[in-house]
């Protein structure tokens, strides 16, 4: 039995011996692996950035949102979390702090904002002073919404940096008046910049006191608010969540066995739902691009079959000199696997360079992140392609009759 080192040496020599052909064959795999790696690196970079973005929410925060089943939505039904729910939680839920409601005053799509003849469209939320602690986001200039603002339903606004930029009002914005959805507000604060997430600015918003926001709602409209709060003891997160769920179910009069019409989510769950979305995207892309590796594999098989035919005499000589079936099988199989793993390794390098380069070239794109599992998977898959597509030609070579092979010209 030929030693592994010898088999490897002979395979390497054979690949070198047909440099151009081997290179072209491996190229198919290089392209396949490179595309997989580039796509995975870019998508994982995005996913990584989003997870970072949610990290600001803190591991101990819970968010209550209304939840309407899709079937119900089709029938025009819409579940809501209202101020009564907020009061219920504030009153009866123990072990929590920084309970802040978030009310999209002009609906989920925001409103027009005007300042000195400039117009911009932005999201408008009404919230309470504790919001800054819940979100761990504080004013960079001026002040945040105060209890006094709440009490007097003041028409004051705290704005994001991106909105100011859009309104050309970055110079001395405090004290200026801004028209939001037809109402006039005084800018009292500008929030710290949080940058972009997935190409969308997180600084494009305006906040107003919660009471002011409620007062602005049309008469018939029940508000649908989100409630975020921090749990004092992270250990008791699940306990608090269960308690909040129980309180709200009772408040909403949901019978046992019926589905909740709201959701209580941890920041982690929000992150996870995004992460799983990106993982799905990664997987789908990888699967699609994996097809190109299949094509690469067929190329390898084709080359190996040509190689076996071409080297029939060599096989005959080797067999005449004492090579066993498994020697010949190993020789050709290792040659195929060596070829595909070299292609895979080059592809990983090229793919990372591509992903990294693309992320760098596109402005505001997060840097590419290549997870270790993608590298391992790409490498393993390359070797797998070598085995899967190399086994048939190798078996063919191993089965050759020595004398028939020797006679072959």
């Amino acid at each position: 039995m030929l030693s592994f080192a010898e088999t490897l040496r002979s395979a390497a020599a054979s690949i070198r011996g047909h440099g151009l052909r081997s290179g072209l064959t491996a190229l198919g795999l290089v392209v396949g692996v490179a595309s997989v790696i580039a796509v995975v690196a870019i998508v994982q970079g995005l996913s990584h950035r989003i997870k970072e973005g949610f990290a600001g929410l803190g591991a101990n925060s819970l968010t209550v949102k209304s939840y309407t089943r899709f079937e119900d939505k089709l029938q025009g039904r819409e579940n809501r979390i209202g101020t009564a729910d907020l009061d219920e939680l504030v009153l009866r839920l123990d072990g929590v702090r920084d309970v802040s409601p978030v009310l999209p005053v002009f609906g989920p799509f925001g409103a027009e904002v005007r300042l000195a003849g400039k117009t911009a469209h932005t999201r408008v939320f009404a919230t309470t002073p504790v919001y800054q602690y819940t979100r761990q986001n504080f004013p960079a200039q001026g002040r945040f919404i105060t209890e006094a603002d709440e009490k007097h339903r003041r028409r004051v606004a705290v704005v994001g940096a991106k909105l100011l930029d859009d309104l050309d009002a970055t110079a001395a914005p405090i004290g200026k008046f801004v028209e939001i959805g037809g109402e006039w507000f005084k800018i009292v604060g500008v929030m710290e910049e949080r940058g972009e997430l997935f190409g969308i600015s997180q600084d494009d918003f305006v906040l107003m006191p919660f009471a002011t926001g409620l007062a602005l709602l049309p008469d018939q409209v029940e508000p649908d608010i989100g409630i975020t709060f921090n749990v004092e003891d992270v250990e008791k997160l699940d306990e608090v969540r269960d308690r909040a769920t129980t309180l709200l179910r009772r408040k909403h009069g949901i019978k046992a066995g019926r589905e909740n019409d709201f959701k209580v989510e941890t920041a982690e769950q929000l992150t996870d739902s995004f992460a799983s979305l990106f993982d799905t995207v990664t997987f789908v892309f990888a699967a699609i691009v994996g097809i190109s590796m299949l094509v690469g594999g067929i190329g390898v098989m084709n080359m190996m079959l040509v190689s076996v035919t071409e080297r029939t005499r060599e096989i005959g000589i080797r067999k005449a000199l004492g090579a066993k079936k498994r020697d010949i099988l190993a020789q050709f199989l290792i040659e195929a696997v060596l070829l595909t793993t070299i292609g895979g390794a080059i592809g990983i390098g090229v793919g990372y360079a591509l992903g990294y380069g693309a992320a760098q070239l596109i402005p505001s794109f997060p840097p590419a992140v290549l997870p270790w599992w993608a590298t391992v998977a790409a490498f393993g898959f390359s070797a797998g392609v070598g085995i899967a597509f190399g086994i048939a030609p190798a078996a063919r070579a191993a089965a050759l009759d020595p004398m028939a092979a020797l006679r072959n010209e």
Partner: protein, 250 residues
């Protein structure tokens, strides 16, 4: 046939080999009995189609006989599977082919080392044996040459070194001088002579009577059977006689 001699290396009993060409059976060997003992220097001769190459392939365990018994160095070859046969070829037989059959991309040394590598073990362990074998055939200074950089005679010497390197029980040569000019052929035959003097058992196939005369035994095949088996001088005399008869008849 009597019991094989104690020092018999090859023993054939009623060996037959039938090929099927386009559905038609072709009887290449029709019952060959043969015994070769240690230290012999035998030539198998015969006209084209007499079955001498087939016999050689059977002797070299490259082809299985269709019927009959074949033992090499005391091992019954018929009972062995493909891998065991490969091992037998590797350890007991040194093969020299008419067209050398060297690996074109491997150096002379690597070619010589090849049979040893199939026994396992590292390259380093076998390197010295291969160098010795190359020196034995007078090619110590051609180790790193590729076959295409060598002359025909040198290539055949490399092939002979490869056949000898594993210290086989028997050296089989199928028309070893068939692709060489007369002077080179003489050199190669001188080498075979020396090897035999040193104790190697050699069986070669040839259609060249002058080469057969250098061997000490001549086995003549015709139509798949051994028709004559005698010490070479007697065989040569008979040849001469038959030629004279043939000449007269013309």
């Amino acid at each position: 046939m009597s019991a094989p001699a104690i020092n018999a290396i090859l023993t054939l009993e009623a060996v037959e080999k039938t090929f099927h060409v386009a559905g038609e059976p072709v009887h290449a060997l029709r019952g060959v009995d043969l015994e070769v003992t240690r230290g012999e220097y035998a030539a198998i001769i015969g006209p084209s189609g007499s079955g001498k190459s087939t016999l050689m392939n059977v002797l070299g365990c490259l082809e299985r006989p269709s019927a009959g018994r074949y033992a090499i160095d005391g091992v019954d070859a018929a009972a062995l599977d493909d891998d065991a046969l490969a091992d037998l070829r590797n350890r007991r037989i040194g093969f020299v082919f008419q067209d050398f059959h060297l690996l074109p991309r491997a150096s002379a040394l690597d070619n010589v080392m090849l049979p040893l590598l199939y026994r396992g073990g590292s390259r380093r362990a076998h390197r010295e044996s291969a160098q010795t074998a190359l020196a034995d055939v007078g090619l110590a200074d051609r180790e790193s040459h590729l076959p295409m950089q060598l002359s025909g005679g040198q290539r055949q010497r490399v092939a002979i070194a490869r056949a000898l390197v594993g210290n086989p029980a028997i050296l089989l040569a199928d028309e070893p001088t068939g692709n060489l000019d007369a002077a080179t052929a003489r050199d190669i035959m001188d080498l075979f002579d020396r090897l035999n003097v040193r104790g190697h058992t050699i069986v070669l196939v040839t259609h060249d009577a002058s080469i057969a005369r250098r061997c000490r035994r001549t086995i003549r095949l015709a139509d798949g059977r051994v028709v004559d088996d005698a010490p070479s001088t007697e065989a040569a005399l008979r040849d001469a006689g038959s030629l004279q008869i043939a000449g007269r008849a013309c």
